[in-house]
């Protein structure tokens, strides 16, 4: 009855990943060749990455991850608060729904500009807030949906056991929503990383986004591709090794 990891499936998927990587590298080399080196070839980019000072590498990585994860956590906290409010009354449910629609329709670029205007170009706050505001609708939509579909049976059980409204939310709805939150978080953390890089590019003194735009302004195409590659590899590793596993683990919490 215990769930075990689908090892055979994982092995098959690793094979596909290897084939995919080989094809991607071939296309990369082909593009570099056909553009006469305007797009840097693989050895040039590898050399650039090897030349990055280790301290600089970890510092920029730290900044980007700090911005993205802090933004994600703020987004999650706000989403949980709004989801709780929406469970209190029909009015608040509609209100939260409308707020979510509005948040979804505002471009990230607008948020970047607003936060840069408010906090200044060198402030560390805009990338964090932009990540938070970008992940919020993803998390909130999933939470609202899962609350709507939390089984009627669960609500009846909570009532018969004498659970208060807060108990219902804390002990039943939130844990019952964990599988949905885990799936949404997988998307949201990826989004937070991509968005925080954009915000860093517009106004920041560090982070992968800053490094990409810095190298671009100097005309170092290998720097642009190198830092982008670092980000892509890290995002894939985090998604496949951590977030995917968390999502799978959270599946245990589906009602039986």
């Amino acid at each position: 009855m215990e769930r075990t990891l689908p090892y055979k499936e994982i092995t098959n998927e690793i094979q596909v990943w290897i084939i995919f990587t080989i094809i991607s590298l071939c296309i990369w080399e082909a593009v570099s060749y056909t553009t006469n080196g305007l797009f840097p070839d693989i050895p040039t980019v590898v050399n650039f990455i090897r030349s990055i000072n280790l301290r600089e590498f970890w510092y920029n990585l730290y900044l980007t991850f700090r911005n993205a994860l802090t933004g994600y956590l703020i987004g999650l906290a706000i989403a949980l608060g709004l989801a709780y409010l929406s469970s209190l009354s029909k009015f608040l449910d509609r209100f939260t729904g409308i707020l979510n629609t509005i948040l979804q329709s505002i471009s990230v670029l607008v948020w970047v500009m607003i936060f840069l205007l408010l906090f200044g170009v060198l402030s560390p706050i805009p990338p964090i807030l932009v990540s938070a505001i970008a992940t919020l609708p993803v998390l909130l939509s999933n939470l609202l949906q899962s609350i709507k579909y939390v089984d009627k049976r669960i609500r009846e059980l909570a009532k018969i056991l004498g659970a208060s409204r807060i108990d219902l939310f804390k002990d039943f709805i939130i844990p019952g929503s964990i599988p949905y939150i885990a799936s949404a978080s997988r998307v949201a953390i990826g989004l937070a990383l991509r968005i925080s890089v954009v915000a860093e590019a517009f106004g920041s003194s560090g982070g992968i986004g800053f490094q990409i735009i810095y190298n671009y302004s100097l005309g170092y195409s290998e720097g642009v591709v190198g830092w982008a590659l670092i980000l892509i590899i890290l995002m894939i590793l985090i998604d496949q090794l951590i977030l995917r596993f968390i999502e799978w683990e959270a599946g245990r919490w589906r009602l039986i």
């Binding site: 009855m1 215990e2 769930r3 089984d151 049976r153 669960i154 009846e156 059980l157 009532k159 018969i160 056991l161 004498g162 659970a163 208060s164 108990d167 002990d171 039943f172 844990p175 019952g176 964990i178 245990r252 919490w253 589906r254 009602l255 039986i256």
Partner: protein
């Protein structure tokens, strides 16, 4: 309802009507359940048995009639609905936590009920690690740990193998008297039911009404079966 009459009864339902979307599901239901009595309600699937149980538990409204409940109600749902994020111990103690029962008292109560139902060895396990029978017992433990005066069970034998069903029958025959509880079970499996209960109400017809009421207290197993089969045949004609 007069107080002296209610003192005798645990549940009194008079002329109850219930409909969903304009379709009547329960018509003119009247049921009287004495304190500490074990009552069964049988009927085919879709006869409104669960609806009736939920009305008694206060989980559903009704259109007309009178429902009087004398005491605290505990309910065991048709599906076990155990919370997968809590272990068996935490699932059982949940209601006690909401009642604000002290930690030590809570622990003693959970262990006492777990022992009564043979769950002690599973208390640290999570619901997905135990058998269907253990899950069913856990959902019963979660209800009776709250010391209800009336215990409602919705299709308690569904999905269980023969051995577990027999164990459950034995438990449900003994435990309510031991804990001073009134028992009301709804099921479509009357053979299991009549080994436990003192009286049976048969739901039948469209919309459902009480087709018959059979007293089988003090009868042997075979006599019970014969009496109930006769009543079933009569209710069909």
């Amino acid at each position: 309802m007069e107080a002296n009459l209610m003192a005798r009864y645990a549940i009194v339902i008079k002329n109850l009507w219930k409909s969903y979307n304009g379709k009547t599901v329960l018509s003119n239901i009247s049921i009287y359940v004495n304190r500490n009595e074990k009552i069964g309600i049988v009927g085919p699937n879709g006869a409104g048995k669960t609806t009736l149980l939920k009305i008694i538990a206060g989980l559903e409204d009704y259109d007309a009639g009178e429902v009087n409940i004398n005491g605290r109600v505990g309910m065991v749902f048709q599906e076990d609905i155990l919370l997968p994020w809590m272990n068996i111990y935490e699932n059982i103690e949940l209601g006690l936590k909401y009642q604000g029962v002290d930690d030590k008292v809570r622990r003693d109560k959970v262990y006492r009920i777990a022992e009564l139902l043979g769950l002690t060895q599973y208390l640290d396990y999570y619901p997905n690690m135990v058998s269907g029978g253990t899950r069913r017992k856990t959902s019963i433990a979660r209800a009776i740990v709250l010391d209800p005066d009336i215990l409602l069970l919705d299709e308690p034998f569904t999905g269980l193998d023969l051995d577990t069903t027999n164990t459950l029958i034995k438990m449900l025959s003994i435990i309510p008297s031991k804990l001073n509880m009134t028992l009301l079970i709804v099921s479509h499996q009357f053979q299991e039911l009549l080994q436990i209960v003192d009286r049976l109400y048969i739901l039948g017809g469209v919309p459902s009404k009480i087709a018959d009421e059979i007293n089988i207290r003090n009868l042997g197993r075979e006599e019970r079966i014969i009496k109930v089969i006769k009543a079933f045949n009569m209710s069909k004609t």
